[in-house]
């Protein structure tokens, strides 16, 4: 039996999150916990002379923004547990201190396959991240895997 889901949920935006403030401290914390030392992301003076004219967040900062608490109200769950199976991130514009970031998300695809873990269902959620100027900063495809 193929995986069951309502086809109407595909490509339908289910959430636009409240803006999340990006502080210099949050970027600094990200650099600390990822051992990032690149001066473009950590040194205000050096970053002023760099391509962005000031400190920007490392690209992987884009994946730290989360969907809302009611995520699984809109995104089907299957089987037991759930794991992050991978991400595809398109980095469009840098994220800067002072930005306010929203996520607009929809279910892009649902499929099943078998692997070392057994039978798995993958739900792919695509999110577009925008700043307070409504400029796209990133596109993110997030693959959730559940074992059935």
């Amino acid at each position: 039996m193929a995986v069951n889901f309502d086809p109407a949920i595909i490509n339908k935006v289910f959430e636009i999150t409240e803006p999340v403030q990006v502080s210099a401290e949050r970027i600094r914390k990200f650099c600390e916990v990822t051992s990032e030392t690149n001066p473009l992301f950590t040194d205000e003076e050096a970053a002023k002379n760099g391509p962005y004219g000031g400190i920007v967040a490392p690209p992987a900062f884009a994946v730290t923004f989360r969907n809302g608490r009611h995520f699984f109200t809109h995104v089907p769950r299957y089987g037991h547990g759930g794991f992050d199976a991978g991400k595809d991130v398109e980095f469009v514009s840098p994220i800067r201190p002072g930005d306010e970031i929203t996520l607009s998300s929809h279910v892009k695809e649902i499929y099943e396959k078998t692997g070392r873990s057994g039978t798995m269902v993958f739900v792919v959620v695509r999110s577009t991240l925008k700043n307070q100027r409504n400029e796209t900063v990133a596109h993110l495809d997030h693959r959730f895997m559940s074992r059935t």
Partner: protein, 227 residues
């Protein structure tokens, strides 16, 4: 005269691969000294890429590109070579619950050949299924060397092959450009078409070829601490 073919790899057409075919062929040219592969077979997951035409790339790089499929059955994953329209009508390759014995018998009847892949892999390899189910009939060859194998998996495959008297193949199972050709199959005969390949898999002489580099021990790394 012999042909060395990577019998198992995935292009961007497979949802979990990130490898354009042209980049694969470029890499084969680059690494030919250590991976002397003459051709590759694209075994896309749960589909057969009907529309793809790689003749221009074959001419440009001098590497043969054939098409096949990797499907999912009640005995694990299997590679289907010699896919034709009749097979695509008979079987839904997207179905992850195909009946393996029916697949093997019918594909053979329709002019193709089925090769169970990565048999040593948990859940989706023959070894584990043979522990609780009767062995499949009419299996000619099984993939012994898989470039994605973890420790012990190829060894389990080899033991299964010896026990059942199967012929053995090799393939990279590559999902990244730089992993193409790590494992392959060396055929005695000259192979130029998918029909040649099916004929040789059924009746020819071949053996797996391992081009994986020998690993050097990695010493324990220094912890990367948060500042």
């Amino acid at each position: 005269m012999s042909t060395v073919i990577d019998l198992h790899c995935h292009s961007e057409a497979s949802e979990d691969s990130r490898a354009p075919v042209e980049a694969y062929l470029n890499w084969i040219q680059l690494r030919h000294a250590e991976r002397p592969v003459n051709g590759i077979v694209l075994t896309e997951h749960r589909q057969f890429n009907r529309a793809a035409d790689y003749r221009t790339l074959e001419d440009k790089f001098g590497v043969m590109v054939l098409r096949a499929s990797e499907v999912e059955t009640n005995y694990g994953h299997m590679l289907v070579y010699g896919v034709n329209e009749d097979m695509l009508v008979r079987f839904d390759f997207a179905n992850i619950r195909l009946d393996a014995q029916t697949l093997i018998n019918e594909i053979d009847r329709m002019g193709g050949v089925v090769v169970p892949c990565h048999p040593g892999r948990p859940n989706i390899g023959l070894c584990e299924h043979y522990e609780s189910k009767p062995p499949l009939e009419n299996v000619i060859a099984v993939e012994m060397l898989n470039g994605g194998s973890r420790k012990g998996e190829d060894e389990r495959s080899e033991e299964l092959i010896k026990r059942h008297g199967y012929a053995a193949t090799g393939g990279s199972d590559s999902h990244l450009v730089s992993l193409i050709g790590l494992c392959a199959t060396r055929f005695v005969a000259d192979i130029k078409t998918i029909d040649d390949l099916v004929r040789e898999l059924r009746d020819g002489q071949y053996e797996p070829a391992d081009f994986r580099p020998r690993r050097h021990p990695v010493h324990r790394a220094v912890a990367v601490e948060a500042k």
